[in-house]
């Protein structure tokens, strides 16, 4: 299980990487392996507002569809359009090429409630 040390994690298995006031968000290695082969990612629209712990989009695997929650609140400033043609990037490279969206963080303190790598490892263990 790949759980990068520098990221923060939500209980619904999304990861967050903070760059300035922008949160880059994707789903964890654990989440992608549980879902199996991902066939479609329904991306949110840029300009929309993401609400903490609420669905921003969906991820469709062969046998199931799962909501993709935003771990932070704020405006969605960019989505990973590469996933439209190649959703399997979420399977093969969930932390780099398989990122899903970027959110301009409205309240940085929301990140404090997320788990660090160590806590997340225990959480999924």
């Amino acid at each position: 299980m790949n759980i990068p040390k520098e990221l923060k994690y939500a209980e619904s298995h999304e990861w967050v990487r903070l760059e300035g006031d922008v949160a880059i968000i994707g789903i964890s290695d654990y989440a992608q392996s549980e879902l199996g082969d991902i066939v479609f990612v329904e991306l949110p629209e840029t300009g929309n507002t993401a609400a903490k712990d609420e669905a921003s989009g969906t991820i469709e695997a062969v046998k199931t569809v799962s909501d993709f929650n935003s771990p932070v609140s704020g405006e969605i400033i960019e989505v990973n359009e590469a996933l439209e043609d190649e959703p399997t990037l979420v399977n093969t490279d969930c932390y780099i090429a398989g990122w899903i969206m970027k959110v301009k963080v409205a309240d940085a303190s929301e990140l404090d409630a997320l788990m660090n790598a160590e806590a997340y490892e225990k959480f999924v263990g």
Binding site: F40, E42, E60, A61, V62, K63, T64, V65, D67
Partner: protein, 446 residues
């Protein structure tokens, strides 16, 4: 596979296995106050012979369409059904199959769905078809809910007043919990009034819904409604009669976003009102918002052709309350009947059916209008169904016709009180010239 009832010995064995003495013990967790009196006042058991006699006596009370000259329509039509259709759908592999939850082991069922979808796409000119829905009423409702999911920020739905009133009632039952703003578009000469629609349509219009041929049998100018809807970034949803598509413009031709229809006409008997067959198609770009399931064709690891459920992950048994639809089931056996029917008819056969309907319907309409007191209720073009203005209430004509083994049509007063002197008459390819003339003669002698 035969039906295998369990006898007393089987029941005893099962109860013993799970460690209870009597069936009633299984119910002991239900409080007495909730149980009520379940003793049923049923007659004693009958022998097979007696059951047959009982059933025959019950059957004899029906007057089926084939025992009459039927002009009944309004969404349920007496078209010819080749014997092969019933022969194939009666095969136990199809007639006893339940919905394929372990889809890939049911290759035959999946292939039937795939063929059905392919034929419906070809017929409607639309990109994708699902594996079917219950009937046109639920299909129209699902189309509206799908449009709501696509145009989330908009909430106005403009519905033609010439949509089947029963479809509309079904939609209203669903819409109660969706808070949709339903707006009626008035009619002009029994067709949806384009000028009125253009007044009603705004930036808040999510979809425009028109049925063609409409409830009164009239062919609508679907291209103009589609254009008007798209000008305001609204979806255009069209209801269809699948038989008519053999000769009329398809929803695909007019750039419809979603098309629905009643598939009973395609190889399904009237069945006393059901089960029927909902047709549901859409543009490719909306496929993931579609209700129901889609079967697809693929290759296995050895390169053999195989079928899979390519889209079902948004259904209720997987998505629960977040499913795209309330309907998980499809009408597989009715869809198979439609598939066999369409495959048998082929492009030219279906066209012939449609042309016969048009010719015979127009012949009858003309003959009736020559009778004193009778006239057309509108001047709109029609396919196989039309409205006649009658000199006395349509209800009385219908009652008198029954005595002569004629089902004269539908009394429009049932749905619209102001139309009680209007008779909705459907003519399929099954009606002979002699039958049409007999009906005209009956009316002349009233």
């Amino acid at each position: 596979m035969p039906y295998l009832p369990h006898g007393n010995d089987d029941i005893k064995q099962m109860l013993k296995k799970i460690g209870v003495d009597r069936f009633e013990d299984l119910l002991k967790n239900i409080p007495e106050v909730l149980k009520g009196d379940v003793s049923l006042d049923l007659p004693g058991a009958l022998s097979e012979l007696e059951i047959q006699q009982e059933m025959h006596a019950l059957l004899a009370q029906n007057t089926a369409c084939h025992q009459t000259i039927s002009f009944l329509g309004a969404g349920a039509y007496d078209h010819f059904i080749p014997t092969v259709v019933d022969f194939i759908i009666s095969r136990p592999e199809f007639s006893t199959a339940y919905t394929p939850y372990q889809a890939e082991v049911s290759q035959g069922t999946l292939q039937a769905m795939y063929e059905f979808q392919s034929l419906i796409c070809e017929l409607t000119g639309m990109d994708v078809s699902n594996a079917s829905m219950y009937d046109a009423a639920t299909a129209m409702t699902e189309a509206i809910l799908m449009a709501k999911n696509i145009k989330r920020k908009k909430n106005d739905f403009i519905l033609s007043s010439a949509i089947h009133p029963l479809y509309r009632m079904t939609m209203e039952t669903y819409a109660r919990s969706w808070d949709l703003n339903i707006i009626d578009c008035p009619l002009k000469d029994d067709r949806t009034d384009l000028a009125a629609l253009e007044e009603l349509i705004t930036e808040n219009t999510a979809a425009v819904v028109v049925q063609s041929p409409n409830f009164f049998g009239c062919i609508e100018d679907t291209a103009s409604f589609s254009e008007a809807a798209h000008k305001h970034d609204a979806l255009f949803i069209q209801g269809v009669d699948p038989i008519s598509l053999a000769i009329l413009k398809t929803p695909g031709d007019v750039d419809a976003d979603i098309a629905f229809g009643e598939g009973q006409s395609l190889g399904n008997h009237l069945n006393f009102g059901g089960p029927y067959l909902g047709l549901f198609t859409a543009k490719q770009e909306y496929v993931r918002k579609m209700p129901g399931r889609i079967a697809g064709m693929t290759e296995d690891t050895d390169g053999n052709r195989g079928y899979v459920l390519t889209l079902q992950t948004r259904e209720q048994h997987i998505r629960r309350e977040k499913a795209t639809s309330n309907i998980c089931s499809n009408e597989a056996l009715c869809a198979l009947a439609a598939t066999v029917y369409l495959a048998l008819m082929g492009r030219s056969g279906l066209k012939q059916v449609a042309e016969l309907c048009v010719q015979k319907a127009h012949y009858l309409q003309q003959k009736i209008c020559e009778l004193p007191g009778y006239s057309t209720a509108n001047s709109a073009p029609f396919f196989k169904e039309f409205v006649i203005q009658t000199p006395f209430p349509a209800k009385e004509i219908i009652q008198k016709a029954v005595d002569q083994a004629i089902y004269a049509g539908i009394d429009l007063g049932t749905y619209f009180p102001e139309r009680k002197n209007q008779l909705l008459i459907a003519v399929t390819e099954k009606r002979t010239k002699e039958e049409l003339d007999k009906f005209v003669e009956f009316l002349a002698n009233l």
